[in-house]
């Protein structure tokens, strides 16, 4: 026995994404955002996408390219305050935006990755975010039903990967990546480094290979990955 090899090219990896796909995109701000996969999705031009991402990056960066190209119908997110362009598109009705409390977005994605139907929580119960959501009473208390989120595709940025798709992340670039890497039918990874089989210590793997479908090694990183000078 040996483990399967899932390395592929950027073009092939992204070509598997159909129009109208639901696409999870890792990252919280710059760290962990798969800028190269996003750029390729812009180049290939799939349309009618639903994006699930913590934030909308900033204007002119990351998923904003998908918004600007008119490829996105819907965005499920927690906060888009750093992208005035995304707010303008939302206000003009050019994209539909569903806001979620940040930790609940994380849990809904994790629930999808864990094969659960939903979680029950009291978070945001008093707010307009949960105003129209189903409620369930358990042991005499009322909870909001937060349904699991799954996607057709997840775009993941890793620090290092082996050919089987074992991944690690670095610092706060971890954020939503390991959650989304469990919650999609097709998990596509861009990795700053490609290690040989066994190159990641088995105890230090953050995302186990069985969750991953395609591994793309990054060459030199584009400027989008760099420290943002404000």
């Amino acid at each position: 026995m040996r483990l399967p090899d899932k390395t592929t090219t950027l073009e092939e990896a992204v070509a598997g994404i159909p129009d109208r796909a639901v696409v999870m995109v890792g990252g919280f701000g710059v760290p962990g955002t798969p800028f190269t996969l996003i750029r390729e999705l812009v180049r290939q031009g799939q349309r009618g996408l639903t994006l699930i991402k913590n934030d909308a990056n900033e204007a002119g960066m990351g998923v904003d390219h998908l918004l600007a190209a008119g490829q996105v119908d819907r965005l499920i997110t927690t906060h888009i305050g750093l992208n005035a362009h995304a707010i303008a598109m939302m206000n003009a009705g050019e994209i539909e935006v569903e806001f979620c409390a940040q930790g609940i977005l994380a849990e809904r994605i994790r629930a999808g990755g864990a094969g659960l139907a939903a979680i029950l929580t009291d978070i945001a119960a008093d707010t307009e975010l949960a105003a129209h959501k189903q409620r369930v009473e358990v042991d005499g208390k009322s909870y909001v039903v937060e349904t699991a989120l799954r996607a057709d595709v997840a775009l993941i940025h890793a620090n290092s990967a082996d050919p089987f798709g074992n991944l690690d992340y670095v610092a706060t670039a971890r954020n939503f990546n390991p959650l989304m890497a469990m919650a999609a039918s097709r998990v596509i990874v861009e990795s700053e480094r490609l290690q040989p089989f066994g190159g990641l210590a088995a105890d230090d793997v953050h995302t186990p290979g069985p969750f991953v479908d395609c591994v793309v090694e990054l060459g030199d990183l584009s400027k989008e990955y760099a420290v943002v000078r404000r």
Partner: protein, 210 residues
Amino acid sequence: MVARAAAEIAPGMVVNLGIGLPTKVVNYLDADFPVCLHTENGLSGIGPTLPVERADRNLIDAGGAYVSTVPGSAFFDSAVSFALVRSGRLDLTMLGAFEVSQAGDLANWKIPGKFSPGAGGGIELAQKARRVVVLTTHTDRAGNPKLKADCTLPVTARGCVSRIFTDLAVIDVTPEGFALRERAEGVSAAEIVGATGAPLALPAGDIPTF
């Protein structure tokens, strides 16, 4: 039978081999065969079982055997391990059985009054692996059929079993019930029908042997 079951594993699969007979399937996989073996206590990429003298006290499979790693193994906690199972990343599981019904119901965890140790991870493996096959003797020690019209024991999961490998035959669970696919060398179709506790559809023409 175990060798025949091993042929069920396709290249690239993630596979969980249940305790008992299924574990032996690993002995029939080629060194170069691309497959990932999963154990629900928290390891993908199981390597060979080790003798006690070379065992790592912290490295067991779900059955308690001292196993090893391969290049590319990963350890994870029990929640991640079953997330993998429930979210559809487990392509195949091979399980033992007390009973299998013609609807594919599986009973393998409890014999009321005699054996009630708990289900462990068996329910999730049976219910959520993309394909569930059973490895079992065709009849129990008393000679009673394990393949039945209905399960009489508490079920593990309903309608989950696709195929059954026994010492006598390979049998598929179809929408019409049990269908004989292959027979063991030297075993007749009539013997298999006689040892099966529910109608068994026979193929037209010769029955392949294994």
